[in-house]
Symmetry: C2
Subunit: 162 residues, 2 copies
Amino acid sequence: MRWEELDREPCSLARTLSIVGDRWTLLVLRECFLRVRRFEEFEQRLGIARHVLADRLKKLTEAGVLCKKPYQERPRREEYRLTEKGLDLYPVMLSLLDWGDKWMAGPEGPPLLRRHNACGHVAHAVPTCSECGEPLDARSMTVEPGPGAPPAILKAAGGETE
Amino acid sequence: MRWEELDREPCSLARTLSIVGDRWTLLVLRECFLRVRRFEEFEQRLGIARHVLADRLKKLTEAGVLCKKPYQERPRREEYRLTEKGLDLYPVMLSLLDWGDKWMAGPEGPPLLRRHNACGHVAHAVPTCSECGEPLDARSMTVEPGPGAPPAILKAAGGETE
DNA sequence: CTTGACAGGTTCTTTTTTGGAACCCATTGT
DNA sequence: ACAATGGGTTCCAAAAAAGAACCTGTCAAG
């Protein structure tokens, strides 16, 4: 399988990875969630090669995850902001962060914590069922074909569940 | 920043990406969650080059995400299984899948659905606060330095929150 | 006791992607 | 007129990926 074919796979995971499954893209998005918006600032904070950054920003913009907004005319300057689609990646960020906090932190503990404004506690995310509210884990779900399933999907492409 | 330095970054996102932030790795893990365990089966289902597959399985095993278990001696054959650490990536899989279902499905809808065994409904994951149970979104959390924070972290490395 | 068929890799060669640094362009401050 | 600033593009060398062929134990059949 080649990288450009990934977005045509009958698998939501593969399709998502066709947008964010790249070394740099998620780090760029991390900065976006930290309200970084300008080319130079991305470059300085990430230490990314300029043309790689330009490429990622273009792809994310084309994918509708970011949008360009002018913040001044003459000279025209534009900044990159998360769209609705981009903000919707927050659960992905959270789950990656929480896993890193749990499994990749050294003996000192995680470098950053997140405090939930509403309740005031340092918290992590618990994935829960949208229908009944119970916590979800790998063994509690069953995969079945959806409306966009190709005929051969039952044996071929995947979703998840252990 | 170079790829091998990523696991030493003071950022849980970067550290997580040092394990799973790769084109193929998450697709290999998708198959693991679908109970695929053998080299040949990974290869056939993914269409991945054999040495890339061997490399990813080795790295995931070294990282403690997968473990090798012999399922027969003479000839010795081993299968790859998710460890506790690997199973803990389920929230990451779910959030990626849900985003793909929502934003990358064609007009027909998503190719696969997940049904929650406990309540019987087709469901997606909602990230909720581990302390108070309320749903979390990008604007409801504040980042603060944790126990493993290096001195310069307040301005340098990131977590999230829009 | 030779042939062949697995499972599970490794080696080799050709493309793609990176990283690094230099260069370009419009505007504006001095 | 001249350097600085923001936002890129171009060029080259180095690293990683794709593809396909080749290697290695261990049975099992002829």
